[in-house]
């Protein structure tokens, strides 16, 4: 299990957090600094447990609503939590990109495809790409029926 780690970078009024590893009890969340924009990249977060969910909710709670938070490259485990845990995706957060799992019935493997705002989704509207797997067989979206529900709150 890769340890949780956060790289922090400041660019004027924007703070960029690049998170990686497994978000759980041992994780150290960064001390929040005041900024008008927070950009959080979650692309290398490998998973989270229920304590990680609580950590995240506690960490984002004191952020003023006037601060805009952009979430990029949200992994599947984050997206499913957007839809099931209150306070995990707050109203000042905007998801700019997230992963969608696709499944190949031919070789029974999974491939997570990045959906980016303005390309594969705009508000709640989705434009699913065709992803080809083994023998050029199209892969199927492999997500629960409510997977994209959080986008309705992003409109």
């Amino acid at each position: 299990m890769k340890e949780f780690n956060v790289l922090t970078e400041k660019q004027g009024n924007t703070i960029i957090y690049t998170m990686e590893g497994y978000l759980a009890e041992a994780a150290k969340m960064p001390i929040l600094e005041s900024a008008s924009i927070l950009k959080i990249n979650l692309g290398k977060v490998t998973g989270l447990n229920s304590f990680g969910v609580r950590w995240w909710c506690q960490w984002v709670k004191p952020i003023p609503m006037t601060t805009k938070i952009f979430l990029a490259e949200c992994p599947m485990v984050f997206v499913k939590t957007f839809n099931t845990v209150g306070g995990f995706l707050t109203s000042n957060m905007e998801v700019t990109s997230f992963y969608v799992p696709f499944y190949s019935p031919v070789d029974e493997t999974r491939k997570d495809i990045l959906y980016t705002k303005g390309e594969q989704f705009t508000g709640p509207n989705l434009k699913h790409p065709t992803i080809l797997g083994l023998n050029s067989t199209p892969l199927e979206i492999d997500a629960a029926s409510n997977y994209f529900k959080f986008l309705e709150r992003q409109a």
Binding site: L48, K80, D142
Partner: protein
């Protein structure tokens, strides 16, 4: 009253009829949603199987709140083995108790899987500092097979919650008081010397079952109802902010998996397990779930 034998015996081969009939004949069922009007009339709802059909697992809340403990989805191909597991838990708990793990995995249909070391992982533990290493071993075990690897994130998350539950929620002292329930999950805990827990993972061609057994058997019926009432009262969970856990663990496991089992023998042992179908995420995270719990 309709018995499983009367209406579902065609699900099993004729050759097994003589062996199964004494079990199947003792168990009755209700159908959801057809029999919703009968749910309040059952005197022993804990002994009745609810055979569901819907896509909305949370729609069975009224049955859960009225004391039903066995929910089997009729639109799943593994209906026979799950019905049989429920029947055995209800009619012959003593047999079930002896070795419930094969039922979680394959309904006794393919017992050689259990002796195949490539398909099995068993790790005993006593302290919270072992958790990271156990999850790492499980991750490596899942990575060996492309089918299990594709479910690695939800399996690891579920195993983490099973281990945390066994370490912090299960332990009780000689007076039956919870030892670590309100201990912050960042604080290390260790079992008393005579106690241990075991995490197991085992996969067949169709599913992987991951479970955790502890030797406390501390779950009570009241606690289970309380938990289910809280967690099933809303689709959206809110993490607990007080000390102790976030209070999301078991629900996370149920959401991740296709089947959920909780079995507890008072002061002997508790076994919590989840099965994941090896046919992609959707089949597991859909609301077509089997759910069994039995607390004595």
């Amino acid at each position: 009253m309709r018995s499983i034998l009367q209406d579902f015996s065609h699900l099993w081969p004729k050759s097994r009829e003589a062996a199964l009939a004494p079990i199947l004949s003792k168990v009755t069922y209700l159908k959801y949603p057809e029999d919703s009007n009968l749910l309040g009339l059952e005197k022993r709802p804990d002994k009745v199987i609810v055979i569901t059909s819907g896509e909305d697992f949370f729609a069975i809340r009224p049955f859960i709140f009225n004391g039903f403990r066995h929910f089997v989805n009729r639109n799943r191909s593994d209906l026979p083995q799950e019905l049989l597991a429920s029947c055995l838990m209800i009619a012959k708990p003593a047999i079930f108790v002896q070795n419930p793990i094969p039922f979680f995995l394959a309904g006794f249909s393919n017992l050689q899987i259990l002796t195949d070391t490539e398909r099995n992982l068993t790790i005993s533990f006593k302290k919270s500092t072992q958790k990271a290493e156990i999850l790492h071993e499980l991750e490596e075990f899942l990575a060996k097979n492309p089918k299990t690897k594709s479910l690695s994130d939800i399996c690891i998350q579920s195993a983490d919650e099973l281990i945390t539950n066994a370490l912090y929620n299960a332990p009780v002292d000689a007076d039956g008081e919870r030892m670590f329930l309100n201990v912050d999950r960042q604080e290390a805990v260790e079992y008393p010397p005579n106690k241990k827990a075991t995490l197991f993972a085992c996969f067949s061609d169709d599913r992987i079952t991951i479970g955790c057994e502890d030797t406390f058997g501390s779950m009570t019926v009241t606690e289970m109802y309380q938990y289910l009432r809280t967690k099933f009262s809303s689709d959206l969970s809110i993490p607990r902010e007080s000390t102790g856990g976030a209070g999301l663990g078991l629900k996370m496991i149920m959401e991740n998996s296709a089947n959920f089992y909780l079995f507890s023998e008072r002061y002997r042992r508790s076994l919590v397990a989840a099965s994941f179908l090896l046919s992609g995420l959707k089949s597991n995270m859909s609301n077509r779930k089997h759910f069994h719990w039995s607390v004595s």
